[in-house]
């Protein structure tokens, strides 16, 4: 562990800069620390590969066969040398569809987490810092959302907002707002009572300044660890929404939708239609989960020994 690990205070004008500096400090200047972080490295590599593969395969011609236009394969045939992961009922190549099918998942996951992180933590800072009636109402509202099954809420919301990428970002993002609210509010309540905040206040700093410059940066560590786990969960939620038919419209390759499609041919034993998109979802979600594990270890070295 390097010496700067225990340092939690970040002096930054805005949160965005704080987040960026935090990442840079933790990852590049802490290369020394990263050397021992096998979990974090494996996670980063997995996620990087997925983003790279998904990005590249959006360019026409970089998949072995075209994911939507190619229709000359034998119908519903199991994995073979010509078609590594088999073919579907429309004579398309499953491998080509699977490696290019992560677009919606990745965009929605990042979009939703960015949305909920912003809204949730801003509300959390305000609520925790001001206290009083506003805090009570916000906390109660957030608890009401938090205690309700997030999957059901996301499905209801996406049904209201309609299918597609943007509605999915809003619905999945909304569901995670209470998570950030709770994390930041709890941190703020702790920070608020510290001597240095008292000192800053004595000097005459206003509330906004105290929140932005002194309270918010102290909650960044907690937010970062939570968001990686959220990304892992978001991948699964997006897959579930697509599976239920709220994702991208048909010919576009998409893991969740392709699984739903494969379900129709389940009785005939076409296992490859379901298996491979699912394995991709697992791998990507696992990648984010490992990053979360790694960041938690970095942020809280004590946790390493007791990690579950």
């Amino acid at each position: 562990m390097s010496e700067n690990m225990g340092q939690t205070e970040i002096e930054n004008p805005t949160l965005v800069v704080g987040v960026i500096r935090w990442i840079v400090r933790k990852i590049s200047s802490g290369r020394h620390a990263l050397r021992r972080q096998t979990i974090l490295k494996v996670g980063l590599i997995i996620v990087f590969l997925f983003i790279l593969a998904t990005g590249l395969t959006q360019i026409e011609g970089l998949t072995p066969y075209h994911p939507t236009k190619y229709r000359d394969a034998p119908r519903l045939e199991g994995p073979s040398i010509r078609h590594l992961l088999g073919t579907d009922q429309l004579k398309r190549d499953v491998f080509s569809r699977v490696i290019s099918g992560g677009k919606a998942s990745i965009i929605v996951a990042f979009g939703a987490v960015a949305l909920s992180m912003t809204v949730g933590s801003v509300l959390g800072w305000i609520s925790g810092f001001t206290g009083g009636f506003l805090d009570r109402v916000l906390s109660l509202t957030m608890d009401a959302i938090y205690s309700f099954p997030s999957m059901i809420l996301a499905i209801t919301l996406v049904a209201v907002l309609g299918a597609g990428i943007a509605p999915m970002i809003w619905s999945v993002g909304f569901v995670y707002i209470p998570t950030y609210f709770r994390v930041t509010r709890a941190e703020v309540l702790q920070v608020r009572e510290t001597t240095y905040i008292e000192a800053v206040r004595a000097v005459g700093a206003g509330n906004v300044r105290i929140i932005v410059r002194h309270v918010a940066p102290n909650t960044v560590n907690a937010i970062m660890a939570v968001s990686s786990f959220n990304l892992a969960d978001a991948i699964l939620t997006v897959a579930a929404l697509s599976f239920l038919g709220f994702g991208l419209p048909p010919p576009a390759p998409d893991w969740g939708f392709d699984i739903q499609n494969g379900q129709k041919y389940l009785q005939s034993g076409s296992w490859w239609l379901i298996t491979f998109p699912g394995l991709m979802i697992i791998a990507l979600s696992l990648g984010f989960g490992l990053i979360g594990e790694g960041i938690s270890d970095l942020v809280n070295p004590k946790r390493r020994r007791k990690r579950g």
Binding site: V160, A232, W271, S285, G308
Partner: protein, 339 residues
């Protein structure tokens, strides 16, 4: 009034604003939903404007939103959640008809998660840093990352279709369904009442795959928490003392550590139950399980406002009750807790 009954009352009173917030939220959001329930019900083709207006009136969606809201709240106080647009039956009746199926599934899912999650966490903690510990932890992290519906479909493909060990979907087999009398709605219980071993075996077989699927959603979470909590407890002085006294390791774990390790897990049981209900939506959809969660999904597809509102409030009330029971049960598990 004693401490505990006052606590229960306080909790119940706190539940009301939470339910009200959720209810209002769902009510408002449905009103901005793009689909029109009247058109969804009438089919949308060749319908005269008079008929649409008549239905609009009959379904009560022609009033101003505030009036609708007031009427809806008034109904709920009397336990009336309105009539379903699709089936014209009271929503409460529809929900209670399907509730046993969901409860049955949740119970066996929880049982599975409890046995495998807690069991695997326990083994990992006792054999910490050995190969079995690493294997169990990989299994836990893997189960976090697995989409529930995919896991269910995999079980269907390989165990039901390919091997034929279990039925693919549903609650009772086709032939038995003709003669099967449902009395309580809990099919396993009903089959026991019927006394017919064939029926019992059939119903039990139908339960296996959905329960495993739903339980799998919690296994990893429960397993990780059990492992962490058990490790914490095994580090305590009283465990060292017990070992120093020469108490057998098995007894140290079973009687000294186990109960204390359970406390933090039970604490978040309410949250786990919420995850379970979310998982039930997907499990019931995959296995054509006629429960509350799949009813909600179909209501959303059919723009059935009263049914959507009713299901959500119903699920929220149910989860609040579970949370209350969990809170009360702390004092039973952990005698240090007093209200």
């Amino acid at each position: 009034m004693g401490g505990i009954s006052r606590y229960i009352l306080q909790r119940l009173l706190l539940t009301i604003p939470m339910l009200l917030i959720l209810l209002t939220f769902v009510f408002l959001i449905l009103r901005v939903m793009p689909g029109d329930p009247v058109m969804a019900m009438l089919g949308g083709r060749n319908v005269s404007p008079e008929l649409i207006a008549e239905y609009r009136h009959r379904m009560g969606v022609d009033c101003p939103i505030l009036v609708q809201y007031a009427e809806y709240l008034g109904g709920i106080i009397h336990g009336d959640f309105g009539d379903s647009f699709r089936t014209s039956q009271p929503v409460v009746k529809e929900l209670f008809l399907r509730f046993p199926a969901t409860l049955e599934l949740a119970f066996f899912g929880l049982l599975f998660a409890g046995i495998f999650g807690f069991g695997s966490g326990l083994i990992a903690a006792v054999r910490v840093d050995r190969p079995i510990d690493h294997a169990v932890r990989i299994f836990h992290i893997g189960s976090f990352a697995t989409p529930l519906f995919w896991f269910g479909l995999m079980l269907q493909v390989f165990l039901a279709v390919k091997l034929g060990w279990f039925p693919v979907a549903g609650r009772v087999g086709g032939r038995i369904a003709f003669t099967f009398q449902s009395i309580t709605g809990f099919s396993l219980f009903d089959s026991l009442l019927s006394g017919d071993t064939k029926v019992m075996a059939d119903v039990a077989k139908h339960l296996v795959l959905p329960s495993i699927t739903l339980g799998f959603a919690l296994t990893g979470l429960l397993g990780r928490m059990s492992r962490a909590s058990m490790l914490e407890v095994l580090d305590q002085d009283y465990v060292t003392t017990a070992r120093a006294k020469g108490v057998k390791e098995r007894i140290v774990i079973m009687s000294h550590a186990l109960r204390n390790a359970l406390i933090p897990i039970v604490t978040v049981f309410g949250l786990q139950f919420a995850i379970l209900m979310g998982g039930a939506v997907l499990t019931e959809t995959v296995f054509s399980w006629p429960g509350v969660a799949s009813f909600l999904v179909r209501s959303i597809e059919g723009r059935d406002w009263p049914a959507i509102q009713g299901s959500i409030v119903f699920i929220a009330i149910f989860i609040s009750l579970i949370n209350l029971i969990v809170d009360i049960s702390y004092s039973v598990i952990d005698p240090r807790v007093r209200y």
